[in-house]
């Protein structure tokens, strides 16, 4: 028997980005997402311009460049930017390309310097990016102005709780406006006490043959995968909250694009981890000097916080241990970027953080627990990469196009599962209880679609309609 389905007509050329985005818009209200989103090369090219070329992108933490002249080399999209503290203590984000021939002027991942010199002809820039000279200046360039020939800065640079972001889009709204409701949740993690956080060393970097959006999708609040993919972590005692109990909590669409998820005890008196499992003497320093009583109470009941700031900055706080036989789980905090490296490749940049007022022993404990679980060699994270590789394989497949193959993101939609929207959540955004829910990912892809299709200079709404 042969049947024909008009939807299944193949085209000789692959789908364009516009075709994939139209399918995304058509499918999202039903919880369907075209698989091609995770592998289509035309989509990827559009992302570099429409998403990474415009959005606020996370670059690093201020504690990485404490002294004047300290710099780190980071990326916006696929392009290198020097993030440097200048002589006046300001932070500059400079496109790593000499104004003479476009050559890379910073060739180290990090360091301390008073200037950057191009290896090609010697054009030299200070830490503000100003051109300060070139060899035999009078003969070569006498009469030409140095002004206007400096390194190109990012259009806007700003920090939030020491987290440095930049955007290439001069028309982008301010960082705080862009973060929107997400600031309430960033405060709740990074502002738990008056000391704030610092990073523990440079980031670990590794490459996965997967699409960058798999990381953003997963950290927007994919808790359901723990029961299968990460079942081993319970077998070895790495994580103290049983799977079913861990599914209790909230999914929050903080504002368009930014999503997160809390595993949370139903009441304050519940036994089990509080404040993400941080030690009691540290938790005693958590206060309302920088956050509200509501935020402190949410943090107190929280066991896991996982979230993604659109597009590619993720945060995870939870109790873990690298060796259950010797050490009980303790709070860890990892921040990471899903650095795009092509439609089928992502470079993970993974930092571990500590509260600045932790004792050296607590810092070592949280670092070891984090490294042994949420790193490329860690018991928790090493399994995540396996499925993502095949998501991207499906995403670039001819079959996915010919069969009009879409992915199911229906969990928590009306009539699907037990999750229900709640109206007594103290924080901003749209909240659901329990975590059997994928609205957090639909929020990611809905904003993604609007960003991808926004005209130059135009910005999608950064607030949900009332």
């Amino acid at each position: 028997m042969t049947t024909t389905n008009p939807q299944h007509e193949s085209s000789a050329a692959g789908w364009t980005a516009d075709e994939v985005l139209h399918k995304l818009d058509d499918g999202l209200p039903q919880g369907e997402i075209p698989a091609a989103l995770f592998g289509n090369a035309d989509v990827y090219d559009r992302e570099l311009r429409s998403v990474f070329g415009r959005c606020w992108v996370f670059l690093g933490h201020e504690s990485e460049i404490q002294a004047k002249g300290d710099y780190v080399l980071r990326r916006i999209g696929e392009d290198n930017f020097v993030v440097v503290r200048d002589e006046d203590g300001g932070i500059n984000v400079l496109f790593d390309a000499c104004r003479h021939r476009g050559v890379q002027v910073c060739r180290s991942d990090s360091g301390n310097t008073s200037h950057f010199r191009c290896p090609y002809h010697g054009w030299t820039y200070n830490t503000k990016g100003n051109l300060v000279g070139a060899p035999l200046w009078r003969n070569a360039f006498g009469g030409m102005s140095k002004e206007g020939n400096g390194l190109s800065p990012a259009a806007q640079v700003a920090s939030y709780h020491g987290l440095i972001f930049a955007t290439l889009d001069a028309t982008a709204p301010s960082l705080e406006e862009y973060l929107g409701g997400m600031t309430w949740y960033l405060d709740l993690v990074f502002g738990l006490n008056s000391d704030g956080i610092e990073v523990l060393g440079p980031p670990q970097r590794f490459v996965i043959d997967a699409n960058w959006k798999s990381g953003a999708d997963n950290f927007s609040g994919d808790d359901y995968h723990l029961g299968t993919l990460h079942r081993s972590v319970w077998e070895i005692g790495a994580f103290p909250v049983p799977f079913r109990e861990n599914m209790l909590g909230y999914h929050v669409q903080a504002s368009p694009g930014h999503s997160l998820s809390f595993s949370m005890a139903p009441t304050e008196d519940e036994p089990g981890p509080k404040f993400f499992g941080y030690p009691e003497d540290l938790a005693a320093t958590f206060d309302t000097s920088r956050i509200s009583e509501h935020q402190l109470n949410v943090a107190r009941r929280s066991r896991v916080f996982v979230g993604n700031v659109f597009p590619n900055f993720s945060i995870l706080a939870l109790p873990m241990t690298e060796d259950g036989s010797s050490h009980p789980p303790t709070g860890i905090l990892t921040i990471r970027t899903w650095q795009p490296k092509g439609p089928g490749q992502v470079e993970v940049w993974n930092w571990f953080c500590a509260y600045k007022n932790m004792s050296p022993e607590q810092k070592e404990r949280t670092y070891r627990a984090g490294l042994g679980t949420f790193s490329m060699g860690g018991s928790f994270e090493m399994d995540d990469t396996e499925p993502w590789i095949t998501v991207s394989r499906t995403g670039r497949s001819v079959a996915a196009e010919v069969l009009d193959f879409s992915l199911n993101y229906q969990m928590g939609m009306p009539g699907v599962g037990i999750a229900k929207q709640v109206d007594d959540w103290p924080g901003p955004g749209i909240a659901y209880w329990t975590r059997y829910e994928e609205g957090v990912q639909r929020n990611l892809f809905s904003f993604y679609s609007r960003m991808m299709q926004a005209a130059p200079g135009q910005w999608p709404d950064l607030r949900f309609p009332e």
Partner: protein, 175 residues
Amino acid sequence: MTLTKTRVPVGSALHNEVVEWLYTEAELLDDGHEAQWHQEMVSRDIVYRVPLRQTVERARGKGFAEGTYHLDETYGSLGSRVLRNQTPYAWAEDPPSRIRHFVTNVRVAEADEDAVAVRSNLLIMRTRQEQTQPQIFAGERQDLLRREEGVLRLFRRTVLLDLTVIGTHNLAMFF
């Protein structure tokens, strides 16, 4: 750790014993006998580290950032990894990779505390599923082996990888 003092010649009894030990270790790891390696060849007070490396200017050294690692393991945490791989849910290594350790340039010196200091070059070729291009790790291992009840056991290992950005999706294997 330096090897300036009392390096023993290639072919000497001690050198042969160390090479034999390294080959046995590589065989156990390549054959998937991680538990046996852990139990019989690793000291209970092992410090097993793969430091994080960055690209830095020559004046700043080789770029190994102090106190930061890809792996920083104890006997207990290595045991957790071995145990994890034995569960039916260790997707990162099930189906298992094909892993081959190539150990060369073995330099041996007597060290303090009845220990032997060993530097070797390590090349690991790893293939997953139907891959034909291997994932490759090249680097140097700096080991201290100690005689415990007559048997050599590994009690310090530092793996200095040549990579700054690790070109593989996980470190589910042992160096």
